[in-house]
C-alpha cells in the first residue's frame, strides 16, 4: 500500500469495542441532532480526501460505496455460486474492515437496502466512524412505508425508493406512490431520491416535477461479453447481466436534468473495469458514482476516482453536463 494507515490496529480495536455494545441506531444525518460516537475507539487515523459534491446541504465523496458485495448480491449471470462465495468471504469482521478502509480512503457514504443486515454500519458509527448512509427502501406489500420510517430511525442520511420498486409501481399504474415516498422522506428531513434501472422512471419523475434531491440511475456501456444480445430489449437483462439497456438515451436525458445524479451499476456488476467505467460515468454526466468494492479494491478505486475526477473537471474535459453537485 502506498500509504501506511493503521487500519489493522483500528479495525481490531473498533471491533473489540463494538462487540460489547448493542446495535446502534445513532444516525449520521446533519438534519437531526447527532448522537456522539462512543469514545474508546479512534476514527480511522489517516484520510486522503476524495473529491466531494453536495446534495442539498450535505457533502459526499464522489465515489460512494455500494452494498451489493456486502449483501452477497453478485449479479453474476449464470455463475450462481458467486453470491455464496461473496457472503462467505465477507464475514462480519471483513465487512467492518472494508468500511473502515473505505473511510480511510476518503469514501464518506455507503448505499445499502434498509432491510439487509446493516449492523456493521451501526457498529462503525458506535466506534466513531462517520460513513453516511443512503438507504434503499421499497413499499410494504400492503402499501405502507414502514421501511422509510425504519431508515429514518436507523440513521439514514439519504433515502430512496429502489429501482425495482419504482418500476413495479410504474407498471402497475401507481406512479403517484413514488411521489408519496419522496414527500414522506423529505418530511422526515432526509435527502429524498428515486432509484431506477428503467429510464422511464426518471422521465416520469421529471414530468410530475417530483421534488427529489437526487436521482440514482444505472449507467453502463454495453461493451462487455455478457451484455444483452440484440434481441434483448428489457431495462434489466434477463440473465442478471444488464441494468442499462440504452446508455446513450440515459446520457441524453440526464443532460436535461438539473438534479444530482448518482450513477450506479457502472461496472455492470463486475464486467467492466473501473478504469473504463469511472471516466465513462463522469464524462457522461454522473455527479457521483456508486461502486461495490471488496476490501482489496478500495485503495486502487479511490486513487482512480481522484485521478479521473481531476481530468473530467479540468480544462478540455469531454463532459458537457454541468455538475449538479
Amino acid at each position: 500500500m502506498a500509504r501506511q494507515i493503521s487500519r489493522r490496529g483500528f479495525v481490531k480495536s473498533s471491533l473489540i469495542a463494538s462487540a460489547a455494545a448493542p446495535l446502534g441506531l445513532s444516525g449520521q444525518t446533519d438534519s437531526t441532532a447527532q448522537t456522539p460516537a462512543p469514545t474508546g475507539a479512534p476514527a480511522a487515523a489517516v484520510r486522503e480526501p476524495l473529491p466531494t459534491g453536495k446534495i442539498r446541504d450535505q457533502e459526499f465523496s464522489r465515489l460512494i460505496m455500494g452494498g451489493n458485495l456486502i449483501g452477497g448480491y453478485s449479479h453474476s449471470r449464470d455463475l450462481a455460486y458467486v453470491s455464496t462465495l461473496m457472503r462467505r468471504y465477507n464475514s462480519d469482521a471483513k465487512i467492518r474492515e472494508t468500511i473502515e478502509l473505505a473511510e480511510a480512503h476518503g469514501i464518506t457514504a455507503i448505499n445499502t437496502h434498509v432491510i439487509q443486515e446493516n449492523s456493521f454500519l451501526f457498529n462503525h458509527w458506535k466506534c466513531g466512524g462517520k460513513m453516511k448512509w443512503f438507504a434503499q427502501i421499497a413499499p410494504d406489500p400492503a402499501g405502507g412505508y414502514s421501511q422509510i420510517q425504519r431508515a429514518v430511525d436507523e440513521g439514514a442520511t439519504g433515502i430512496h425508493i429502489n429501482g425495482d420498486a419504482a418500476e413495479s409501481l410504474l407498471s402497475q399504474g401507481k406512479f403517484e406512490r413514488v411521489g408519496e415516498t419522496v414527500q414522506l422522506i423529505k418530511a422526515s428531513k432526509r435527502l429524498a431520491g428515486v432509484g431506477a434501472h428503467d429510464l422511464r422512471i426518471i422521465i416520469e419523475c421529471e414530468k410530475a416535477k417530483l421534488d427529489v434531491d437526487f436521482y440514482q440511475k444505472t449507467l453502463h456501456s454495453l461493451d462487455y461479453y455478457t451484455a444483452p444480445r440484440p434481441d434483448e430489449k428489457d431495462p434489466k437483462g434477463a440473465y442478471d447481466n444488464s441494468w442499462c439497456n440504452n446508455p446513450q438515451a440515459v446520457i441524453d436525458f440526464m443532460a436535461t436534468i438539473k438534479k444530482p445524479w448518482i450513477a450506479f451499476k457502472i461496472l455492470a456488476a463486475g464486467a467492466i473495469q473501473p478504469r473504463a467505467a469511472f471516466p465513462y460515468a463522469f464524462n457522461s454526466g454522473a455527479d457521483f458514482i456508486l461502486v461495490g468494492m471488496f476490501d482489496r479494491q478500495i485503495e486502487e478505486d479511490a486513487k482512480l476516482a481522484r485521478r479521473v475526477f481531476t481530468v473530467v473537471s479540468g480544462p478540455g474535459s469531454k463532459r458537457t453536463r454541468p455538475w449538479f453537485a
Binding site: R77, D78, Y81, L85, Q273, F294
Partner: protein, 325 residues
C-alpha cells in the same frame, strides 16, 4: 449434516501437527511403497463411501475433486474479480479444510497442476490423509519433461499432459511428444493419461493406439446463458466460457473408446448446476467426473454423485457406453 464427521477437530489437530514439519514429498501411489502417515494426526473418520471405479490397478471415487477453485482459476467469463475472490476465500487453512471434508465424504482423488502450490496436499498426507493425486503436467519450454519428474517425486498417483499442452503439440505437428509423455509416465509406474478440450487429441491418441491408462476429456452441454454463441466454433470459448465445443461429437466418439474416461469441466466452470451436469456426464459415458468444489459444496455434491451413479448403474439406465472403470 447427514453424517457427523469430526472434521473440525481433525482439521484443527492436523493443521497443528503439520505446522511443525517441512513440506512433504511423500506419495500416495500404490506402485511405490507408501510411507506411513505421520503420527499425531488421525485421518478423517470414515464417511459414507462413494461409488468407485478402477484405473489400472487402483480404485478411485467416481467423483474427483478439481483443483481450479483452490488455485483461483475461476474461468468466470467477463467477471475478472471472481478469481481474486476465490484466492482470498481459499486461504491455506480453508484449502486444508476442503481436502479433509472431501475425504470425509468419500472423495479419494484430487487433480491439480504440478506447478501450482500443492503444499496443502502434502500436509494432508503428512497428517494421515489418503487423497490420491492426479497431477497435470506440461512440457518444459525447451521440450523436456521435468514436470513429470516433479510429479513423480512429489507423489502423484496419476499424471497427464494438460489439454492445452496436448493441443499445442497437435497444432505444431509434434503429437509424437504426447506419446513420449505417456511412455515416460508409464515407465515410472504411474497411471498415464492425456487431457483434452479438443476432441481431436483423443482421436489422434486412439489412431496411434497410444497405451494410455485414462483419458481426461472436457464434457458439458451448451444449455447455459454464457455458452458459445453460434459464431464461436473453437474448442475453447473465446471468453473463458466453454471447453467442449461439440458435446454430441464427444459422446459419439467416447462411445468407441475402451479406456476410462474422466470427464472434466462438466459444470462449464459453474454455469451448469450439478443436478443437471452429473447425470448428463454419467449417462453419456463418463466413468469419473472431476468437479471443482468449495468446502460448502462438497457434502451436497457427494450425495448427488452417489444418487446419480446408483441410478445410472442400475437397470433401465440411459447410459449405453459400458463402464471402463
Amino acid at each position: 449434516m447427514a453424517q457427523k464427521i469430526s472434521r473440525r477437530g481433525f482439521v484443527k489437530s492436523s493443521l497443528i501437527a503439520t505446522a511443525a514439519v517441512p513440506l512433504g514429498l511423500r506419495g500416495q501411489t500404490s506402485s511405490t511403497p507408501a510411507t506411513p502417515a505421520a503420527s499425531g494426526a488421525r485421518a478423517a473418520s470414515a464417511g459414507e463411501p462413494m461409488p468407485m471405479g478402477k484405473i489400472g490397478d487402483q480404485e478411485f471415487s467416481r467423483l474427483f475433486l478439481g483443483g481450479n477453485l483452490i488455485g483461483g482459476w475461476s474461468h468466470s467469463r467477463d467477471l475478472d474479480y471472481v478469481s481474486a475472490l476465490m484466492r482470498h476465500y481459499n486461504t491455506d487453512a480453508k484449502i486444508r479444510e476442503t481436502l479433509e471434508v472431501a475425504e470425509a465424504h468419500g472423495i479419494t482423488a484430487i487433480n491439480t497442476w504440478v506447478m501450482q502450490e500443492n503444499s496443502h496436499l502434502f500436509n494432508h498426507w503428512k497428517a494421515g490423509g489418503k487423497m490420491k493425486w492426479f497431477a497435470q503436467v506440461r512440457l518444459d519450454a525447451g521440450g523436456g519433461y521435468s514436470q513429470i519428474q516433479k510429479a513423480i517425486d512429489e507423489g502423484a498417483a496419476g499424471i497427464h499432459l494438460t489439454g492445452d499442452a496436448a493441443e499445442s503439440l497437435l497444432k505444431e505437428g509434434n503429437f509424437d511428444k504426447v506419446g513420449e509423455t505417456v511412455q515416460l509416465i508409464k515407465s515410472r509406474k504411474r497411471l498415464a493419461g492425456v487431457g483434452a478440450h479438443d476432441l481431436r487429441v483423443i482421436v489422434e491418441c486412439e489412431k496411434v493406439k497410444m497405451d494410455v491408462d485414462f483419458y481426461q476429456k472436457t464434457f458439458h452441454s451448451h444449455d447455459y446463458f454464457t455458452a458459445p454463441r453460434p459464431e464461436d466454433k473453437d474448442p475453447l470459448g473465446a471468453h473463458d466460457n466453454s471447453w467442449c465445443s461439440d458435446p454430441q461429437a464427444v459422446i459419439d466418439f467416447m462411445a468407441t473408446v475402451k479406456k476410462p474416461w474422466i470427464a472434466f469441466k462438466i459444470l462449464a466452470a459453474g454455469a451448469v448446476p450439478p443436478r443437471a451436469a452429473f447425470p448428463y456426464a454419467f449417462n453419456n459415458g463418463a466413468d469419473f467426473i472431476l468437479v471443482g468444489m468449495f468446502d460448502w459444496q462438497i457434502e451436497e455434491d457427494a450425495k448427488l454423485a452417489r444418487r446419480v451413479v446408483s441410478v445410472v448403474a442400475s437397470r433401465g439406465s440411459k447410459r449405453t457406453r459400458p463402464w471402463f472403470a
